[in-house]
């Protein structure tokens, strides 16, 4: 007789509710609200808010259910709340974009966004390699489809093609690494893997396995040896999806990476640290230097997101508890800043007929003073200057690096922030110094304005008062590193 494991159904609350919401949304689209964009979006937001409410009874709980397939701890809850917040903002941004571009399959669009969110939540809440893989692929498949939603646009076609093929290759390489790890230990659960790894002969198997596995995650977080897809996909994908890709799947991959490295292979930290140092330096330099000559704003932000992945990877190279706190803080702050930036890019694109060229920002201070001033704040924040939240993200990671004796890595990071200032300030120059092509005031939907308000307030409040978010990331990173 097979022993059926005891299941704690409460632990599934957020994910289960979101799955039900996604399926009901699909049926509502089919039977009642045929392609009714606004109603479907509001239903999707209700689903996400409901899932966020289901997180509340889990606060402070530590436990696992169904073996270790689902882990509930403050780390996973931190990321769940982050993903739900990101998804809500992205849906708000999507409503007017979907209406303007007349997407076929509106209900499927929001369903895919919810599916991607579910995948990300599972990725952050498990310590099993199989579950991490399934969550990763659920996220990826949904994101491939969303990236190609402009079916008639050649750039979007190219985005889905590159994203899909390179994504498949990187996940094949990652699986090859997982198979080595399994072959050596006989387990797929991370803490059991850590126990099985003893003795000198484990070294090579682990190093090979981790290097291959890292290839898959380097693709997802857009770090250097696997970054070529980033600019093309970010440029070709629909703008709200670009905002989603630049923060959501990336944060999920970082979360899974933290679990794999710090639960599965903490003993071998001295080996994988070297890899992360190389990846961090390469990502920072490639991202920042390639961003300078870009004239398309989405392409520029793509390279800047590679650079930001580099700053976060500095935290992995340090690999102390302090550094992981810094990583969580940075991911949350970066999500807020970047969604705000994309809201402004979409507002400007909406007013100037979808144009994403940097010249559309010329003289924005005269056409839309609110957008210009908030964009300037976000640019300063992305460069990591006070009094914005961007400062604290960089500060805690680099401080952790200095405390661990990696002061030269922190110095390289600061040097790169200085380089990045060049292209961020260039955007401000376009908005305030150059003359606009038309004097007509920019007209854009109120939803974009709402998202910009929310994110800019978040950026400034965290910038003045980082305490609460820092406290959250400190308790969430407890036990790692």
């Amino acid at each position: 007789m097979v022993q059926i494991p005891k299941v704690n159904y409460l632990f599934f609350g957020p994910e289960a509710l979101l799955i039900v919401a996604a399926l009901v949304l699909l049926l509502l689209d089919l039977f009642f609200w045929r392609q009714n964009n606004r109603r479907l979006a509001i239903f999707g937001i209700f689903g996400l808010v409901g899932a966020a409410l289901m997180v509340i009874p889990l606060l402070g709980v530590n436990g696992t259910t169904l073996g270790t397939s689902l882990v509930v701890d403050s780390f996973s809850l931190f990321f769940k709340m982050l993903f739900l917040g990101i998804a809500i903002l992205v849906i708000v941004l999507s409503v007017d974009y979907v209406a303007k571009h007349k997407f076929a399959g509106v209900g499927e669009y929001y369903t895919m966004l919810l599916f991607a969110t579910i995948g990300m939540m599972f990725m952050a809440a498990t310590t099993d390699l199989v579950m991490i893989y399934i969550g990763l692929e659920l996220t990826s498949i949904s994101c491939y489809i969303l990236a190609g939603y402009h079916k008639k646009d050649p750039k979007s076609n190219e985005a889905i093609l590159k994203y899909f093929i390179l994504g498949l290759i990187s996940s094949a390489i990652m699986l090859y690494g997982f198979s080595f790890i399994y072959g050596f230990t006989g387990h797929t659960e991370l803490s059991q893997i850590a126990q099985a790894l003893t003795g000198e002969s484990a070294k090579l198997a682990v190093v090979a396995g981790v290097v291959f596995a890292l290839a898959g995650f380097a693709f997802k977080v857009a770090s250097v040896p696997f970054h070529q897809w980033v600019p093309d996909v970010y440029e070709g994908a629909p703008a709200p999806i670009t905002a989603f890709l630049s923060v959501g799947p990336k944060a999920a991959a970082f979360a899974a990476l933290i679990r794999i490295l710090f639960i599965g292979f903490p003993v071998f930290a001295s080996y994988w640290k070297i890899l992360f140092i190389a990846m961090a330096i390469a990502s920072m330099f490639v991202g920042n230097l390639m961003a300078i000559p870009q004239t398309n704003i989405k392409r520029m932000l793509a390279y800047s997101s590679i650079a930001h992945a580099g700053y976060i990877l500095v935290g992995f190279a340090v690999a102390s508890n302090e550094a992981i706190t810094g990583i969580l803080l940075y991911i949350a702050i970066y999500a807020i800043m970047n969604i705000g930036v994309f809201a402004i890019v979409m507002a400007v694109g909406h007013g100037s007929n979808g144009g994403e060229d940097l010249s559309n920002f010329n003289g924005l201070s005269k056409r839309a003073p609110f957008l210009a001033i908030t964009m300037a704040i976000f640019m300063i924040a992305l460069a990591g200057m006070p009094p914005t939240a961007g400062l604290w993200g960089k500060f805690y990671i680099f401080a952790a690096a200095v405390n661990k004796g990696l002061w030269w890595l922190a110095l390289l990071g600061l040097f790169n922030s200085a380089i990045s200032l060049y292209y961020y300030v260039n955007v401000i120059r376009h908005m305030y110094v150059l003359e606009p092509t038309t004097e007509a005031p920019l007209i854009f939907p109120v939803a974009y304005k709402g998202v910009v308000w929310a994110t800019v307030l978040g950026t400034l409040i965290i910038g003045v008062m980082p305490g609460p978010l820092l406290w959250l990331s400190t308790i969430s990173s407890k036990g790692f590193g």
């Binding site: 097979v2 022993q3 059926i4 494991p5 799955i19 699909l26 169904l66 073996g67 397939s69 689902l70 076929a104 399959g105 499927e108 369903t111 895919m112 599916f115 579910i118 995948g119 599972f122 498990t126 099993d128 199989v130 579950m131 399934i134 969550g135 692929e137 659920l138 498949i141 949904s142 491939y144 489809i145 190609g148 939603y149 079916k151 889905i160 080595f180 072959g183 050596f184 006989g186 002969s201 090579l204 198997a205 090979a208």
Partner: protein, 163 residues
């Protein structure tokens, strides 16, 4: 040489021959058929390694479902120019060199690791044991995989339908 290892070498030869054919042949149709030969050959190896369930699933999915699907797509989309592999470009030579080095490195790594090996035993009821594992230890991934299939299904319809 035992019967088992003779079977293994036979399948290994098939796998390598046809996988080279997938990569080098100029005819799209032949390439797809060679890929299925490789996948079926792997199913044979699965039977050899006491993974009957996987072998049958491999045959059902790849020979039964995927072949038809891929061949339909090939027929629908080959009205374009002739497909052929271009060996002359220097980039491909670099990729070739890179892949040779990569493969060599893989081989070296594999050979120099001391894998923990027990005596292989032929086991009855592997499928039953597999099912127990699948529905006890890996129940959650199994359920989430159904969401994944649904996502791929909806996505394929959205992308491929005419509108």
């Amino acid at each position: 040489m035992t019967v088992a290892s003779a079977i293994f070498y036979f399948f290994a030869a098939i796998l390598i021959f046809f996988s080279i054919k997938v990569v080098t042949t100029k005819n799209l149709f032949h390439s797809v058929m060679s890929a299925f030969a490789v996948l079926l050959g792997t199913a044979g190896l699965f039977f050899l390694f006491n993974a009957e369930f996987l072998g049958i699933v491999q045959i059902l999915i790849y020979a039964g479902a995927v072949t038809i699907l891929v061949l339909f797509v090939v027929m629908l989309t080959t009205a374009g120019p002739k497909y052929r592999i271009v060996w002359e470009t220097p980039l491909n030579i670099w990729i070739f060199v890179f892949v040779i080095l990569f493969g060599g490195m893989l081989g070296m790594i594999v050979l120099s690791i001391q894998w923990p090996v027990a005596k292989p035993v032929a086991l009855h009821g592997v499928t039953e044991a597999l099912a127990t594992r699948l529905f006890v230890e890996y129940l959650l991934p199994f359920e989430v995989a159904s969401i994944l299939l649904l996502a791929a299904l909806i996505g394929s319809i959205v992308l491929a339908r005419r509108d």
